[in-house]
C-alpha cells in the first residue's frame, strides 16, 4: 500500500483528471454495449476486439501518412459495416435465444477476431503518434497529454450526437421502441430485423471511434481487447441499460477508481481492482434484489 497520492495533493488532482479523461473514453465503449444489450439482449464479449480493430484502422491511416485523428471519422464508417456483417453472419441467429448462447457466440467471434487481427497485422504492439503535445496545469505540477483531452472531447461529441440521433431520427425512435417492447414494435410496423442490424452496426461504429482514440492515446495489440470488454460490462452493470448519464458517470467513476487503485495498491492491481469492484457490485445487487423479493413475498 502506498499513500503517496494523499501526501501530495497534486497527485490526487492528477489522478482525478487522468481518471475522468480515461473514464469518458470507457463510457463511450460502454454506451455501445448498453445500447445493444438493451435492444437485442446480447452481451457482446467481442466488444473489446471491435475496439482494437478500430484502433488498427487509425494505425494504418497513420502508417500511410494520414493523421490518425482522421481515424475517428473513417474507423466508425468501416466498423459500421463490419458490425452489420457480423450481425448478418452470426448475431441474427442468436438474437432471440437465451443470453448464454449469445455470450458463447460473441466469445467465439472474439477469439476469431483476435486470431484474424494477429494474422493480418502481426503480433507487434503498435501505436499512432498524434504529436498533440502536452498541457501543463498548476505550475507544471499536473500534466495532461493533449491526446487524452482530445479523446475525451471526441467521445463526448459522439455521445451527444448519438443521443440527438436516438431522439430525433426515425431509426433512433425505432431502436428505442424495439428496446421497450420488440413484439409491440413489430406489430406496429417496425422492421425489427433492420433495427437489430443497425444497432449492432452503431455499436461497432462507437467501438471504432474508441479504438482510433486508444491508438492515439495508448497502444494496441491483437490480444488487448478483453480489458475493454470487462470495463464496459462493469460500467453497464453499474449504470443500468438505456441510462446515458448513468453510463457517463459510472465510466468516469471507474476511471478515477482505477487511477486511485493504481496509486494505492500498485499498477499490478489496476485491472484486478476492476474485477473486484465488479464482483462486489454484483453481490450488492443480488443482495438488494433478494431483499426486494422478500418484501414482495
Amino acid at each position: 500500500m502506498d499513500f503517496m497520492v494523499f501526501q501530495y495533493p497534486m497527485i490526487s488532482v492528477q489522478a482525478c483528471l487522468d481518471g475522468i479523461l480515461l473514464g469518458i473514453l470507457f463510457a463511450l465503449i460502454a454506451y455501445g454495449m448498453a445500447l445493444q444489450w438493451g435492444v437485442m439482449n446480447i452481451i457482446n464479449i467481442a466488444q473489446g476486439d471491435l475496439v482494437i480493430l478500430g484502433g488498427y484502422i487509425a494505425y494504418f491511416m497513420y502508417l500511410y501518412g494520414i493523421h490518425p485523428a482522421w481515424g475517428v471519422i473513417v474507423a466508425p464508417v468501416i466498423m459500421y459495416f463490419v458490425g452489420i456483417a457480423i450481425y448478418k453472419l452470426v448475431i441474427n441467429k442468436v438474437v432471440d435465444r437465451d443470453l448464454f448462447i449469445s455470450i458463447l457466440a460473441t466469445f467465439g467471434i472474439s477469439i476469431l477476431f483476435m486470431q484474424l487481427m494477429n494474422f493480418a497485422f502481426g503480433a507487434d504492439v503498435v501505436l499512432a503518434n498524434s504529436d498533440y503535445g502536452t498541457t501543463m496545469l498548476f505550475n507544471n505540477n499536473v500534466v495532461l497529454p493533449n491526446s487524452k483531452i482530445f479523446s475525451a472531447f471526441i467521445s463526448i461529441l459522439f455521445a451527444i450526437c448519438l443521443v440527438i440521433y436516438m431522439k430525433k431520427s426515425k431509426l433512433g425512435r425505432a431502436i428505442r421502441a424495439t428496446a421497450q417492447n420488440a413484439r409491440a414494435a413489430k406489430i406496429l410496423g417496425v422492421d425489427t430485423e433492420k433495427v437489430y442490424a443497425a444497432t449492432f452496426g452503431i455499436n461497432a461504429a462507437l467501438c471504432g471511434v474508441a479504438g482510433a482514440l486508444i491508438s492515439i492515446t495508448f497502444t494496441i495489440h491483437p490480444y488487448m481487447g478483453l480489458p475493454y470488454t470487462i470495463r464496459s460490462f462493469m460500467i453497464v452493470i453499474v449504470a443500468g441499460l438505456g441510462n446515458l448519464p448513468g453510463v457517463a458517470m459510472s465510466g468516469m467513476g471507474l476511471g478515477v477508481f482505477e487511477e486511485f487503485a493504481d496509486y494505492i495498491l500498485g499498477t499490478e492491481f489496476r485491472i484486478g481492482s476492476v474485477f473486484l469492484l465488479l464482483v462486489l457490485i454484483l453481490i450488492y445487487r443480488r443482495f438488494k434484489l433478494s431483499r426486494k423479493r422478500e418484501y414482495l413475498k
Partner: protein, 412 residues
C-alpha cells in the same frame, strides 16, 4: 451396417499405419541430422517466433552450404522439423512430446520466450534430449538442475544491472536512487531481481518499485511518482508493450530523468515508432552488430547483419542472431562428440567453449551462457530525426560515448 463398420475400421487402421510410417523418421536419416523445434508462428509471440525461425534457417543454410557437420568421417546436413506452438505453453509441451516420441527427433532447438522454454524443458529432460535454446533467459530455467538444457544467451538477471553500474560510475562511485517498473512475468521479474542485486551491491536505493500488469498500456501513475521522487535512474522492463508505453508517456508527460534504461527496444522498433522521443533511452541487448566477435560461418556481426537483411528484408534483431548461434553450438558439439549418442552430445555441449559472431559461448552447470556479457546501447538521433542504436557499455565494446544526464524536455 456391419459391413460399413468393417470397412470403416479397415480404413482407419490403414490411415493410422500410413501416418505413423510417414512420421517415424529418426534423428539422423541418410546424410541429414533432423532437429525439432516448436516455434510461435501464430499468437502473441509470432513476431519474435518468426525472427527465431529465420535465425535458425539462416544458420542451417549457411552451415549446410559450407560443408555441413562432420561426424565419424561422414558429412551430414542439418534439417529442422517445425511445429507452430501458437504461443501457448501447453501446446508447446505437447509438440515437444510429439517431436520426440512420434517424429523420433533426438535433438531439439528452443522455442521463443522464457515461458515456452519452461514448458518444454521438462519434456526434453524426461527423454534425455539435448536442447540448445536461444530465447529463454529467465533465471529460473537454470536453477532447476536441468542437464540437457543449454542457453546461448545471458540470463535475464544480467539485462539491466549494467545500467545501475553505469549510473553509479557516472555518480563518481556513489550510490544512486532507482525507480523500477517491471511487468509481472517470469522474464521481467528476473530482470528486476538482477537490478535489486545491483542496487544492493552498489549501495544504491530503490525509491519506486512498481509491478506492471500483463495488459499494460498505461503507466502514467508510475511516471507521476517518478516526477515527484526525481530518481537518478528509471528502469523499465515490460517487453515491447512496456518499452513503447514508457517512451510515449515519458515524452507526453515530460518526465525528466537523468538515465532511462529498458529492455526490448529493438523488438519494439522504438526509434522507428517514436522517432526522436526515444532519444537517449538506454537499451539492454544480447547482441549488437558492431560487436567484434568472429566465427568462420558468419564472419562477424556486420556481415551477419548484411546477409540477414539481404535474405529476409529486415535488419536482424538479437533474437535472430542468438537463434543462428544455437545451430553453430550444435554443429560444434556434434563434431566434438563425433557421435549421435545423446549422452555424448550432451557432454560435448556441456564442454562447449567457443566464439561465434554472436559472442563467446561457455555453459555453466545450470546451462546458461556465462561467457557473454550484455551490452547497453543508447538511441541517438541526428538533427534530421534519423535515429541509430549505438553501443555505450561495457566500455570494451562501446562505439559511442554515453550521453548523460539526459537533457531535460524543456531543452530538447
Amino acid at each position: 451396417m456391419r459391413f460399413n463398420k468393417i470397412i470403416l475400421s479397415f480404413v482407419s487402421a490403414l490411415v493410422i499405419l500410413f501416418s505413423t510410417s510417414v512420421a517415424s523418421f529418426a534423428k539422423v536419416v541418410g546424410d541429414k541430422i533432423i532437429l525439432g523445434a516448436a516455434i510461435s508462428l501464430t499468437g502473441k509471440y509470432s513476431s519474435n517466433g518468426v525472427h527465431t525461425q529465420n535465425g535458425y534457417n539462416m544458420a542451417v543454410d549457411r552451415i549446410n552450404s559450407m560443408g555441413g557437420v562432420k561426424v565419424g568421417g561422414k558429412t551430414y546436413k542439418f534439417d529442422i522439423i517445425y511445429y507452430d506452438d501458437e504461443s501457448n505453453p501447453k501446446r508447446a509441451a505437447q509438440l515437444a512430446e510429439r517431436l520426440i516420441s512420434q517424429d523420433g527427433v533426438e535433438f531439439m532447438l528452443g522455442p521463443y520466450s522464457s515461458g515456452l522454454t519452461k514448458a518444454i524443458a521438462p519434456v526434453t529432460e524426461k527423454y534425455g534430449v539435448p536442447m540448445v535454446e536461444a530465447n529463454g533467459a529467465s533465471r529460473s530455467l537454470f536453477t532447476k538442475g536441468y542437464k540437457y538444457l543449454f542457453a546461448v544467451l545471458a540470463p535475464a538477471n544480467l539485462y539491466l544491472d549494467v545500467a545501475i553500474d553505469l549510473a553509479v560510475e557516472k555518480n563518481n562511485g556513489k550510490g544512486v536512487t532507482v525507480a523500477m517498473a517491471f511487468e509481472q512475468d517470469a522474464f521481467s521479474q528476473d530482470v528486476r531481481l538482477g537490478v535489486l542485486d545491483a542496487i544492493k551491491r552498489t549501495g544504491s536505493k530503490k525509491v519506486i518499485d512498481d509491478k506492471l500488469p500483463k495488459e499494460l498500456n498505461d503507466m502514467a501513475a508510475t511516471l507521476v511518482k517518478v516526477k515527484q521522487m526525481k530518481p537518478d535512474v528509471l528502469v523499465v522492463s515490460g517487453h515491447t508493450k512496456g518499452a513503447l508505453t514508457a517512451i510515449r508517456q515519458i515524452s507526453e508527460m515530460k518526465v525528466d530523468v537523468p538515465m532511462l534504461a529498458m529492455t526490448h527496444c529493438d523488438a519494439a522498433k522504438l526509434s522507428k515508432q517514436h522517432g526522436k522521443n526515444s532519444q537517449y533511452a538506454l537499451c539492454a541487448s544480447q547482441w549488437h552488430k558492431t560487436l567484434t566477435y568472429k566465427d568462420d560461418f558468419f564472419k562477424d556481426g556486420m556481415t551477419y547483419d548484411a546477409d540477414f537483411t539481404k535474405e529476409f528484408g529486415y535488419a536482424p534483431p538479437y533474437q535472430a542472431a542468438e537463434s543462428s548461434a544455437a545451430l553453430l553450438v550444435f554443429k560444434d558439439a556434434f563434431e566434438r562428440a563425433n557421435s549421435f549418442d545423446q549422452k555424448k552430445v550432451r557432454d560435448a555441449l556441456a564442454a562447449t567453449n567457443m566464439q561465434t559472431f554472436y559472442g563467446n559461448i561457455k555453459f555453466a552447470e545450470g546451462g546458461q551462457n556465462v561467457d557473454k556479457p550484455m551490452v547497453l546501447f543508447q538511441v541517438m538521433c541526428d538533427d534530421a530525426g534519423k535515429c541509430e542504436n549505438k553501443v555505450v557499455a561495457p566500455t570494451k565494446w562501446a562505439s559511442a560515448k554515453l550521453i548523460h544526464p539526459i537533457p531535460s524536455w524543456s531543452k530538447r
